[in-house]
């Protein structure tokens, strides 16, 4: 795991140095830790739980659990520092969402360490979490934006529909709120799949024009509506996993650096491996032990959920390692196939994870063409069926025409050759055509055609052609013979 840490820091030599100095810095301040522990114990959180939490954060950051004390120090420094007003402020915007991400983050009945830490972090604006409301809250937000250098966490999709009026908050369009909030921000964290790719709201038919944040900001930038796009960190899944968010927030707020991101701006450490690679049911997969029906014996035995449409083999996330609900369990462990909630692609609005993965219990997603919804297999079998039917009809005709047994007679001359005797492929044909006298030539062809087998079409063509030659020859005898000479030369060259 230590080697993983070094790879995490390997972006550049300076970054590695920065990592080291961060660690040096934080381990030299035990005073803050003691203060933080007192603050936490006031809120009913023991030292042991806090250390466990720091260990989990370290793992989510791609560090060894041995780095828990460093995380602890970093948190302590940041949170205690907040009391002295030094922390980067955070604005949490809730757009078109089910509040599930906030909910996943801050479950009121059992306040957990992440909640407390986030409360302590300078969350200046959150519709759901903030104690204040209304005008004073909006004012605090405005102040934060005016000061700049803050972090914007966005939960939920933006809505572009009806000229942006599909989503209005505090009498303002969601699109305007986002553009304004990010204008001076240090970074944007898209929490949950809806803010990454539009999520459920953007699933077909998407009448409200839901769109992911990265995609929207890119569009706004291209249209010249904003002058720059702050760094974006996409933390998909539905809802966002609090462990992931806390890990990213700690890295950004306290260690003051961006996580290493992949090409989708997702933290590479978290979204780097397929779920299937780390799944505890993988042994059953390898042994060919599958669940085919819920409520079956196989399900009770905890077999692999592949036939139930598990998207684990094509979804990159660390669910089997970091897990959910304070590391208690996660989808597959709880008996539900992975529905691929982390596959969000922030670079396009053409597809989102819901459309990509539904129906969730099928191996393929459905295709939707002009509101006809079908499975890929249906189309394939239909196409193949059509071909079989066509071949059956054709075979019937083939049989009736007696072509199966012995086949049709082979043409004596190519039909094209007969129409173009001078340029014929077959040399026998060309010899016939090369006869000096054009009239004779045409007649020869005609005679030839009587001898050989021709179908009626070719015969008719031949007859009319012969007549044409005769007519032309009578009208312009010299020209006709010229052409014949040329043909002869070509012939000689062969």
């Amino acid at each position: 795991m230590v080697s993983k840490r070094s790879s995490f820091c390997s972006g550049s030599a300076t970054r590695a140095a920065a990592c080291r100095s961060q660690v040096d810095l934080v381990t030299s301040q035990p005073v803050n830790t003691a203060k933080l522990e007192r603050m936490l114990s006031d809120r009913g959180i023991s030292r042991r739980r806090f250390l466990e939490f720091c260990g989990a954060v370290a793992v989510a950051l791609g560090l060894s659990e041995a780095f828990a004390p460093s995380i602890q120090e970093a948190l302590a420094e940041g949170i205690v520092g907040k009391a002295e007003g030094k922390l980067i402020p955070v604005i949490w915007l809730e757009l078109a969402s089910c509040t599930g991400c906030t909910e996943s983050f801050a479950q009121v009945d059992t306040p957990d360490i992440a909640t407390v830490v986030l409360e302590l972090i300078s969350l200046t604006y959150s519709e759901t979490l903030s104690a204040g409301a209304g005008f004073s809250l909006e004012e605090a937000k405005e102040e934060t934006i005016a000061n700049g250098g803050h972090i914007v966490v966005i939960e939920g999709a933006l809505m572009e529909g009806w000229d942006g009026n599909a989503l209005r908050i505090a009498n303002e369009k969601g699109t305007e709120i986002v553009k304004h909030a990010v204008s001076t921000a240090k970074a944007v964290i898209c929490a949950g799949s809806c803010s990454v790719d539009g999520g459920w709201q953007a699933a077909k038919p998407n009448p409200g024009g839901a769109i992911g944040i990265q995609n929207y900001l890119q569009k706004a930038f291209d249209a010249g509506e904003i002058s720059s796009i702050p760094p974006i960190i996409n933390v998909p899944t539905c809802p966002a996993n609090p462990e992931h968010l806390v890990a990213v927030l700690i890295e950004v707020l306290l260690l003051d650096r961006l996580p290493v991101l992949d090409r989708f701006n997702k933290p590479a450490q978290i979204f780097g491996q397929f779920i299937h690679e780390n799944c505890p049911r993988r042994g059953h997969f390898e042994n060919g032990e599958f669940v085919y029906q819920f409520g079956s014996e196989e399900e009770a035995l905890g077999y692999c959920l592949y036939p139930m449409g598990c998207k684990g083999p094509q979804t990159k996330n660390d669910c089997p390692i970091v897990r959910w609900n304070r590391r208690v369990s996660w989808c597959v462990e709880a008996g539900a196939p992975c529905i691929g909630c982390a596959v969000s692609d922030p670079t396009t609005n053409k597809r989102n994870w819901v459309d990509l993965n539904s129906p969730f219990l099928k191996r393929f997603h459905s295709i939707n063409i002009m509101n006809y919804v079908f499975q890929p297999a249906t189309l394939a079998v239909a196409a193949a069926g059509l071909v079989v039917a066509a071949l059956a009809v054709h075979g019937f005709g083939w049989k009736i025409s007696g072509r199966f047994a012995g086949g049709a007679p082979i043409e004596k001359e190519r039909a094209w050759d007969i129409r173009h005797p001078n340029k014929a492929v077959s040399t026998t044909m060309r010899k016939v055509a090369a006869k000096k006298d054009r009239v004779l030539n045409a007649q020869l062809i005609k005679e030839e055609s009587e001898e050989k087998y021709f179908d009626s079409v070719s015969k008719a063509a031949l007859a009319s052609q012969a007549e044409g030659h005769l007519a032309r020859q009578q009208a312009n005898p010299e020209k006709a013979s010229d052409t014949n000479d040329n043909t002869d030369q070509t012939q000689g060259g062969e």
Binding site: T347, L356, A383, A384, V387, W398, P409, W416, T427
Partner: protein, 231 residues
């Protein structure tokens, strides 16, 4: 007798063998692919995954051999003749086929009564066989986009992102297989449409008498009954 004679020269032994390998691999690949897509025979899932990869590689090697050996192996570019050329000419346009595309289509659609003259492969047949080369490469490529050890190679990743993720690649891979299946159906149908002689040739390497074609004049010049009538 309306057929052209089938001589071994049309299908030299190495290509009878590559054809056998193709046939077996296709069957194994399609079958194992179906099992991997949905494990209806759970017990052999692991085996199928291994076999799928192995036969995919086999098909590729086989195809590479088929193409790259063609300048060095001679075969008859026409039915009904024992005259041989480098086999690669079979891949290239042949004079025997010139202007015959329309005639073939008309023939298949019953608009033309007599069987068109052609090279070893008729025009539509040849186009279909040539199309199988890119199709095979494509289906193998999409397969390697899905196989985890190669899935994050740059080209594979680029393609996967382009089409919209792993799920999309899976569907494309699946549909391409069906295009292959449809090709095989047409191929088999058209092969037996003129009787079983071509099958005997390609699978059992058994000759069959018939009309004789002269590659020089590009015409039928006679008939060869392989001496059977007199035996």
């Amino acid at each position: 007798m309306a057929h052209l004679a089938h001589y071994r020269e049309a299908h030299p032994l190495p290509y009878v063998i590559t054809h056998w390998i193709n046939l077996l691999s296709m069957i194994v690949l399609a079958f194992t692919g179906f099992v991997i897509h949905f494990p209806f025979l759970p017990g052999i899932m692991g085996l199928c995954r291994g076999a799928h990869l192995f036969f995919a590689c086999l098909v590729l090697v086989n195809m590479a051999f088929r193409i790259f050996s063609s300048p060095f192996i001679k075969s008859a570019p026409n039915m009904g003749t024992r005259e041989k050329r480098q086999d690669m000419f079979v891949f290239l346009p042949q004079k025997d086929n010139r202007h015959q595309f329309g005639a073939w289509i008309k023939y298949y659609l019953f608009l033309k009564k007599d069987h068109p003259l052609s090279g070893k492969y008729g025009v539509p047949q040849k186009l279909a066989y040539l199309a199988v080369i890119p199709l095979t490469l494509f289906i193998a490529f999409t397969g390697f986009c899905l196989w985890v050890p190669t899935s994050d190679w740059l080209l594979m990743q680029f393609f996967t992102d382009l089409v919209g993720g792993v799920m999309a690649v899976r569907i494309i891979h699946y549909w391409t297989m069906w295009i292959m299946i449809i090709f095989v159906m047409l191929h088999v149908y058209l092969s037996i449409a003129n009787g079983l002689a071509p099958l005997k040739m390609i699978f059992l390497w058994k000759e069959h008498g018939g009309l004789v074609y002269d590659p020089k004049t590009k015409n039928i010049i006679g008939e060869d009954d392989l001496g059977e009538e007199h035996a």
